[in-house]
């Protein structure tokens, strides 16, 4: 007798036009098991999961749920089969309360709020989830939102849970909490599929791992018999080094000095609260923080896109706050900005590489006409140098893959030989190979003496790549430390509001400063000032 699986995918194939996203994929998950799905970008993980959740329909192959062959044509079918998917980008209605989001999509009479609240609290309790049912989503932290997502699928009685990169936006502590919940669900007999890029998490949580590469299922291994190296090899198809270099540069000098900077968002809430730090040449300054802690505003203020309410950014004693990006360039500060929103702010999605190159250099042209020649040469040079894959320099960049788009953007910025390079989440959505190319590019710039600001979310990478780490929480600087003095857990704690001196503990000579500081919420650590000395 064959074993009964919760999910069994047999020879699943799905093509988009001429691109085969899934090619005869086999996958099995048992009840009471956590299965990790591992693969680079474009290896077909999301496509496969979207077929289980009813967004796509397979071209051929069969899906068996609980031993029975099924046809999943819509999210409704998927829901009825007891499959719950937690998407990477939360599918929540911001203006609704947690409760309303949880009952969304149900039919019939709307339940009495009190009994519903009790039901949800009880359900949460049984899985160790804490939740305030009446709280609105827009008031929630990322981790709280994820809790709502999980409760949403549990409320519907899902036995099969799919999580798409659930830890990408969590601090290490929050990740631990999530894993505890997943283990509890596993004990209760749920089948869980988790997609993640982080190998150590795969090793920590899963029972088995299925590896996809270029749309094919390569292998399924038992986690206990594996290590990071073997998984990477399976995933990439060849052994690669997982170390990120951190060359140490001499003669590091402060090039930009940020003093008491306070920035307000358009709705008058404080985005950056009286922060001070400096940016040095030949160094990568890593910025860590939970999403929305002021990273975006920091970038935009540095580059002159946002105006600070108070404070100064000094370049050789000249304050550049209040100057427009053009004025900053005219001062001779060449700053490059690789924004988080690549196709929104960084590049024009519908234009080709050539025209996107021109965006940076159009003002250098003489006369009223566009000179595409030099831009075309530059575009071709970048394709060669960075190994960008594209059918042609005039193809709209939105049709290129994420990694290639990022290379175009970063390449263009680097070509302008900046003194300061500001990058926000440059490897977001990129696979291991592309990510390492980007790290190398950044290191190269650092060696040239460029001051690099790296805003990142993967703490492992931040700690390995950066020389110093600045941690932001609610727009305040929790501390600035040399990266090799910090552990991931310490950064995680700082991201959720602990100050460096608390985290690093007594015995550290910097601790004394601010006992009174802890009680005053507006008070900021003077850590940054000391560092400059």
């Amino acid at each position: 007798m064959t074993e009964q699986y919760a999910i069994e995918c047999r020879q699943i194939t799905k093509a988009f036009g001429s691109v085969v996203a899934n090619d005869k994929i086999n996958l099995t998950v048992r009840y009471g098991e956590i299965m990790a799905l591992l693969g680079e970008n474009g290896s077909g993980k999301t496509t496969l999961m979207n077929m289980l959740s009813g967004i796509y329909h397979p071209d051929s192959g069969s899906i068996l749920i609980g031993g029975k062959e099924v046809s999943i044509n819509s999210p409704v079918d998927s829901k009825n089969l007891g499959i719950g998917m937690i998407h990477q980008h939360f599918k929540l209605v911001d203006v609704f309360s947690a409760m309303d989001n949880i009952i969304l999509g149900s039919h019939g009479r709307r339940l009495n709020r009190k009994s519903l609240r009790e039901k949800i609290e009880e359900l949460g309790h049984s899985f160790g989830l804490e939740i305030e049912p009446e709280k609105k989503i827009y008031d929630m932290s990322v981790s709280e939102k994820q809790t709502v997502e999980i409760l949403k699928v549990l409320y519907r009685g899902a036995q099969i849970l799919i999580l798409d990169e659930p830890t990408a936006v969590l601090t290490p502590q929050e990740t631990e909490k999530l894993f505890a919940i997943l283990r509890r669900m596993k004990e209760q007999g749920c089948a869980i599929i988790i997609i993640t890029h982080k190998l150590h998490e795969v090793l920590a949580i899963s029972d088995r791992v299925t590896i996809l590469r270029k749309g094919k299922s390569i292998d399924t291994v038992v986690t206990g018999e594996c290590d990071e190296k073997k998984l990477t090899e399976l995933m990439v198809g060849r052994p690669i080094s997982l170390n990120i270099d951190r060359p140490r540069m001499e003669n590091r000098e402060t090039i930009l000095k940020v003093v008491d900077l306070t920035v307000e968002k358009s709705d008058k809430t404080i985005a950056l609260d009286d922060i001070s730090f400096d940016i040095r040449t030949g160094e990568i300054l890593g910025v860590a923080g939970v999403a929305g802690s002021g990273q975006k505003e920091l970038c935009e203020t540095l580059t002159g896109l946002m105006v600070a309410k108070k404070g100064a950014i000094l370049y050789h004693k000249e304050n550049i706050v209040g100057k427009s990006p053009a004025e900053i360039i005219r001062l001779g500060i060449s700053m490059s900005f690789v924004p988080e929103d690549r196709l929104g702010m960084g590049l024009v999605a519908s234009m080709g590489m050539v025209d996107n190159m021109l965006l940076k250099s159009y003002s250098e042209a003489k006369g009223p006409f566009v000179e595409r020649g030099p831009a075309r040469e530059l575009a071709e040079k970048l394709i060669d140098k960075l190994g960008i894959v594209t059918p042609g320099v005039d193809m709209p960049v939105r049709l290129m893959s994420g990694g290639n788009v990022q290379k175009v953007l970063l390449g263009r910025e680097i070509e302008s030989s900046p003194q300061v390079l500001i990058t926000a989440y440059p490897v977001r959505g990129l696979d291991i190979n592309s990510s390492y190319t980007i790290y190398e590019l950044l290191n190269e710039q650092k060696k040239k003496g460029v001051a690099v600001v790296y805003i990142g979310e993967d703490l492992d990478v931040l700690l390995e790549l950066s020389d110093r780490i600045m941690v932001l929480c609610h727009g305040q600087v929790m501390g600035i430390e040399d990266a090799d003095r910090l552990t991931k857990e310490q950064v995680g704690l700082m991201m959720t509001g602990a100050r460096a001196e608390e985290v690093l503990g007594a015995g550290d000579d910097r601790v004394q400063k601010s006992d009174e500081c802890m009680d005053a919420p507006g008070c900021v650590s003077d850590e940054g000032e000391e560092e400059k000395a």
């Binding site: 819509s74 599918k91 929540l92 911001d94 609704f96 999509g105 039919h107």
Partner: protein, 320 residues
């Protein structure tokens, strides 16, 4: 102003505001599923024409209302097919609907006028009798209150009932919650198993029916049963703006529409010769206030704003 005049003014305000009651509630239903329909003016014009002509031909007030609703629904169906199924740009489609609707309405009007006796179109006596003010025995006789609350034509009460029902539908039922989720975050609604396309159509068609009835009010009541071209004359546009004034709540539309109704009739009740204000100013007043409301509403930004987050954005499930 004497108290008699004040009562007259208030009654006139209610009557002048009733088109907004229909137009705005209709537009809210559409906007709640994420579809900004700028074709309200057109759907009302089509309803105006269909209602009047049906009444003229069939002698029946009920058939007139049904025809107006059906014509509005048809117009909304065109909008729905273009924007929901073919994902055409909502603004362009809505504007087109407005131009098409007004044009079609006037065209049919001229066609019917040419075939009429004496060159005018007048609703038959039977129809006008049916849409006369409802006299509720007892209630309508109460002094002041009776005149203020219980002496209107059937359209006014129908409008009120529709507004209240729409409010209950959107804000008190599970279906309404699901429907609102579509306008806020269609991907989330889809993932939650809500049939996005189906509910978008349902709401858009309902919206068309309600707007159509509002149009019939314009052609049948406002001009006392005589066909005039352009009877909707911009009221549909104010309805679209009133959605913001009502912060997407049908219940708020009730007072909102009467405030704007009051603005429309103000010119007749301001004592003459007191101020030398040209009447053109009063004609422009509702539009001026509309512009003002829009400015104030867009200045007041907060997370809690009531505007559906995905208003004006079509939804394509497989888009990545």
């Amino acid at each position: 102003m004497s108290s008699e005049l004040i009562i007259k003014f208030l009654v006139a305000a209610v009557l002048a505001g009733t088109p907004f009651l229909f137009g705005t509630v209709g537009e809210i239903l559409s906007e709640k599923v994420g579809h900004l329909n700028l074709g309200v003016e057109g759907m009302m014009a089509i309803g105006a024409c269909a209602g009047f002509m049906a009444g003229y031909v069939t002698d029946s007030f009920v058939i007139a209302i049904l025809a107006a609703a059906a014509a509005g629904t048809l117009a909304a169906l065109i909008y729905g097919v273009l924007t929901v199924t073919f994902m055409a740009n909502q603004n362009v489609t809505g504007l087109t609907m407005t131009i098409f609707g007004t044009g079609l309405s006037n065209f049919v009007g001229v066609y019917m006028l040419e075939r009429s006796e004496g060159g005018t179109l007048k609703l038959p006596e039977r129809v006008t009798a049916q849409m006369r003010n409802i006299d509720i025995p007892g209630l309508s006789d109460i002094p002041v209150l009776g005149e203020l609350l219980f002496s209107y034509n059937p359209f006014v009460y129908l409008g009120l009932v529709i507004a209240v029902l729409a409010g209950i539908y959107l804000y008190k039922t599970q279906t309404g919650l699901n429907v609102q989720a579509i306008g806020e975050n269609p991907a989330a609604a889809d993932a939650a198993g809500i049939e996005v396309t189906k509910w978008r159509y349902i709401n858009i068609l309902l919206s068309g029916a309600i707007c159509g009835i509002g149009g019939a009010y314009c052609s049948m009541i406002i001009n006392s049963g005589v066909w005039l071209r352009d009877s909707v004359g911009g009221l549909g546009w104010i309805s679209v703006a009133l959605v913001i004034f009502a912060s997407w709540k049908p219940i708020n539309v009730i007072y909102g529409s009467f405030v704007f109704g009051a603005l429309r009739v103000l010119k007749y009740y301001v004592p003459k010769n007191t101020y030398a204000i040209p009447t053109a100013f009063f004609d422009a007043l509702p539009f001026l206030i509309t512009a003002l409301v829009l400015v104030i509403a867009s200045m007041r930004k907060s997370k809690r704003s009531h505007i559906p987050a995905h208003l004006g954005v079509n939804y394509f499930r497989e888009e990545r």
